[in-house]
Symmetry: C2
Subunit: 296 residues, 2 copies
């Protein structure tokens, strides 16, 4: 009998819960709005209780405390999402379901999903997944494992060159002003150009600037950890015309420095959209559940 | 009988070769100037031939081709060091000595040395070692292994915020102008201030600017991979007064964003000088030899 796993992607506006054994084998899936922690988590637990599950993977909006030595391990840390700060996620699911449960950030789950379910990625020693949307974040896979370290990567807040003569927009990050997320997230674009990213036509100077900031961040990520592939997901990256712009700028900025044969080409197989499209997160949570001994 | 290992640190000006079994157990050590590849490698091989060794670790100036699938695997790539481009390092030692040999960059070896030989680092899941001297580079340990990925990290060439109003110096990197190395290496400081870093007194504005660029790079590294400790070595970092400056700036730039308790303190145990001082590289090469199955 095929084992059944539960998975959850918890975002700021909605929760998705599913049970199944793989991308083509989802038995049932539900989605409901994110309200109070008690109500929302209660709904998820009721859903999972209907099945005989082997394990559950939770992909949650962050920041999360993922340090097993911390007393707040498994909780949401300080978040602007009202009522959710200090909510113990892992404990609530473990207690109610008496099952192995694994928790990670939504972007880490998406990174793991793209690595685990995509055969061409699975061969790689390292992969980075960026989400560029309402927020910006990155998940890193090295040797088949998500990188956590001190807390978890927060590459959305990297500092990038920002030429205020060319772009006087000060950025909107409440912590850092003009960090990557402050300059290039969906809300930053909206704020800067007084219309949403979706409304900005191809060819608008906003896209060239957006590609510049993303390319700077990718260059720094490539130089920092030398990943074998970079996947770019999230709402802003649904604008397909961004990909060739970003690839060209990354290559130009690198200026021949990296001697890998990959950098003599067009980077088409190196900087790529997610194969699982918008399902990287939920299917990543499923992969986390399936490999729970490896990721825990 | 204790096993004996060989180790080599090959730099642009000198080679160091040693045999032993650990930091306190070095049996013999020699150093000689870097001349032609044939002569220099020949001298190293003659030295190692005198001993009954179990394995050898080579820490070499880069860039190196460390991709096992590449036909040039184990060679020095294009380098300004005359005569050394395309020199097959790994092959020459393996052939002449018929022993297991492991090769990595000098900065990767130093990172591994600081992790392997320092009990307090050995407990960590992740550690980054930066060398800030003639060049700038970083080695990353994650789960006890050096990160290679596509090639090897080249964090010295990260792009950082550079306010040309405050600092009009254009940087000296032949590839990128004002990347991290272009602004903050020893030669960059010399070029900028018309005197060498050693000659610049404490309190000179050069040091505050230097600390700013290093802090930006560290912030990006912390946000990218969330390391549990950062070791700063290399000639420029021998100026001890840089450490408190850098720590304060990293904390200020982070602005409370990382919720780890480490960031509520002074970062004294987080951003640290190398415990092995100038011996991180050669002792790292020894550690590579000792763990050859793990690092190969």
């Amino acid at each position: 009998m095929t084992k059944l796993f539960g998975c959850l992607e918890g975002g700021g506006t909605k929760f998705v819960c599913a049970v199944g054994s793989g991308p083509g084998q989802i038995l049932e899936e539900v989605r409901f709005p994110t309200t109070s922690p008690a109500e929302t988590i209660g709904q998820a637990i009721s859903f999972f209780k209907k099945f005989n599950l082997s394990a559950i993977g939770l992909a949650m909006f962050g920041p999360l405390d993922l340090n097993p030595a911390s007393p707040a391990y498994g909780s949401v840390a300080a978040t602007p999402k009202r009522g959710w700060s200090n909510t113990d996620i892992l404990g609530k699911f473990r207690q109610a379901l008496n099952l192995p449960v694994v928790l990670d950030t939504d972007v880490n789950a998406a990174a793991f999903g793209e690595w685990y379910w995509v055969p061409d990625n699975r061969k790689l020693e390292s992969l980075v997944y960026f989400t560029i949307g309402t927020g910006i974040g990155a998940g890193i896979i090295i040797n088949g494992h998500l990188v956590h370290g001190l807390t978890h990567p927060e590459a959305g807040h990297m500092r990038l060159p920002h030429d205020r003569k060319k772009d006087p927009f000060p950025g909107i990050c409440p912590f850092h002003g003009d960090c990557f997320e402050g300059l290039a997230s969906g809300p930053a674009m909206h704020h800067h150009w007084r219309q949403s990213a979706e409304q900005l036509p191809d060819g608008h100077p906003a896209w060239d600037l957006e590609a510049t900031y993303i390319a700077y961040a990718l260059v720094n990520e490539i130089l920092s950890i030398s990943p074998q592939r970079i996947v770019l997901g999230g709402g802003v990256m649904e604008r397909c015309s961004l990909f060739p712009l970003i690839r060209r700028k990354v290559k130009d900025m690198m200026n021949g420095y990296i001697s890998s044969p990959i950098f003599t080409g067009s980077l088409e197989g190196y900087i790529v959209p997610p194969v699982l499209e918008k399902r990287s997160g939920i299917l990543g949570a499923l992969a986390m559940a399936k490999t729970i001994k490896k990721t825990n």
